[in-house]
Amino acid sequence: MEIIVFGMISGCIILFGALGFSMTLKAEGFINVAHGQMLLLGAYLALAFSSFGLGMVFSTLLVMVCCGFIGVLIYRFLYSPVKNRGILVLLFTSVGVAYAINGIVGALAGKRVMAYDLPPVRALRIDDVPIMTIYELMIVGFALVAAIAVHLFLTATWVGKSIRAVADNFDLARVRGFDPRRTSDYVWFIASALAGVAGVFSGIIGSLHLGMGWQQIIIILAATVLGGLGSIYGVMLASVLLGIGMEIGITILPSNYRTGVAFLIIIAILFLRPEGLQSLWAPRGGARI
């Protein structure tokens, strides 16, 4: 029971990171390695904001806005100009961005492990069994809200539809009057804002250190492969399954193998069903989100 609850909580954090990552992967078609560093940036920004005396909730909201705008700027000035040079150039530009963000945060914040200054709380109890703390409950609740919001956004709003249209067929979408540039801005804003939140949450559950971005991107990649590359619903399911799977995995293996378990899952999936979870409901080669 404990394992499943904790797995679900870490699954929710993975969800925030993986959701944004999948959106950029689907919209731009490349693996954005810098996405993990967006989590790092979000986590450290929240630390800076709260050290100025802002409350945690307000800091988190501010982080979303800041990360969102930084994401759009990075896209506009760094990715967009090299977009027509192929995926390899984009991929390694994002590696460059990742190192740049990591280095800047490291130079400003130092290499020590840090944590947020949150008041300690007792776990909420159901029938005297401790389930989760109020912070963790908020994370799970926020994840549910975010998943539903992203779904409604993609299916029911004009911008959401244009994102799907541009990702499926760039030229057709342009002919039909969607502006791909504006669409991309929305994608990068949302993806980066979600990444920032994921960073804050993983800082709340664990601690802040310079390696967290690299660690998270690896888990995010695992969730993305498990869900099916670029599939939004697949990745939502995959994140939660992966969170639980990793917790179950480390009851068998030593706990240092957490990301290792994620990767064994990737390799197993590639053997069994390279299309990922989305192949369970999407027709082969058909339209999907």
Binding site: I31, V95, I218, N256, F263, I266
Partner: protein
């Protein structure tokens, strides 16, 4: 000996090791189109294989397997074989899939392998690592003469690897790889079997990276899991991109140039706090250089030359 010369020899030695990795990566990623984000795994496997074959048996405060005290050339050979075998193991399932999956699988494998070095105490002595590994010729030569000898051997190794990779690139094998890179369906109609060639080049690159791993142990005289993080893979890619992907001279230049840029500040006398800031700034700088090169000169310093075949009339 002059400390400046020793410093230079040190930098160029590590540069030579990175250059071997660059040449290996260029063979698989530049000549063929395999996006390997896990070259560090073969580097690490080579290094550990070398240590386990050539080191003395584990003492009471350590634990690792083997420790056979074999001669160094067997160690280097073993490193090559194990590097190649690991590549075969990971390439056989993943090379049949789309490129994105290959990229993710190699990255994943590197991470799993690193966690194995850190956690399996019986195999590698874990995060504590294995220290005090005698470099070759440590009994026959004075330390200074030994540094120079190792440096000379490394340069010789770079020359041999360069020659082998160049021969590979120019051979029908290399030209088939380029054909696959450019247009796989078209290459298949010309009778080229993609999987057979991809796996061969991947194993070859793995073997070269394994040898580089053995040399890395000569240079460091110790081995810890922290030496084999994903940074190594990305640094080798950065070096190759700066030098010129697809061109072996570019790989040669890129490897040395990157290490000179990266390590030039390392031996400055700095306070601890200062050193920490400098290392972060350096990380940021590597990122910025990579972005700038890809933006303004994506073909690198030396661009790839098109293959020309003399036509006999």
């Amino acid at each position: 000996m002059d400390s400046l010369i020793l410093f230079l020899i040190g930098i160029l030695s590590i540069g030579a090791i990175y250059t071997i990795l660059c040449l290996a990566l260029n063979l698989e990623a530049g000549v063929d189109g395999l996006w390997d984000l896990g070259i560090v795994s073969f580097f690490g496997i080579g290094a550990y294989t070398y240590v386990l074959l050539t080191a003395a048996p584990a003492e009471h405060h350590q634990s690792y397997v083997l420790g056979l005290e074999l001669p160094i050339w067997i160690g280097v050979l073993g490193a090559a074989v194990m590097g190649g075998l690991a590549a075969l193991l990971i390439g056989a399932p993943s090379l049949r899939l789309k490129r994105e999956y290959f990229l993710i699988t190699t990255l994943a494998f590197a991470e799993v392998i690193r966690q194995i070095y850190s956690n399996e105490l019986w195999l590698t002595n874990g995060v504590a690592g294995i220290y005090g590994l005698a470099p070759p010729f440590s009994e026959a030569l004075s330390p200074d003469a030994r540094h120079v000898t190792i440096f000379a051997l490394l340069i010789l190794a770079v020359a041999i690897v360069y020659w082998l990779v160049r021969a590979c690139t120019a051979s029908p094998f290399g030209r088939s790889l380029k054909a696959l890179r450019e247009n796989e369906p078209l290459a298949m109609t010309a009778g080229i079997n993609p999987f057979a060639l991809h796996i061969r080049v991947f194993v070859l690159a793995g073997a070269f990276a394994g040898v580089a791993g053995a040399f890395y142990v000569w240079y460091n005289t110790l081995i810890v899991p922290g030496q084999f993080v994903a940074d190594v893979t990305f640094f080798v890619w950065t070096a190759l991109i700066i030098g010129g992907i697809g061109n072996n001279v570019g790989a040669l230049l890129g490897g040395f140039l990157f290490i000179i840029l990266h390590d030039a500040l390392r031996f400055l006398p700095l306070s601890n706090d200062m050193a920490e800031v400098i290392s972060s700034v350096r990380t940021a700088l590597i990122g910025v250089i990579l972005i700038l090169v890809l933006r303004w000169r994506p073909e690198g310093i030396v661009r790839e030359r098109p293959v020309t075949i003399p036509v006999r009339r």
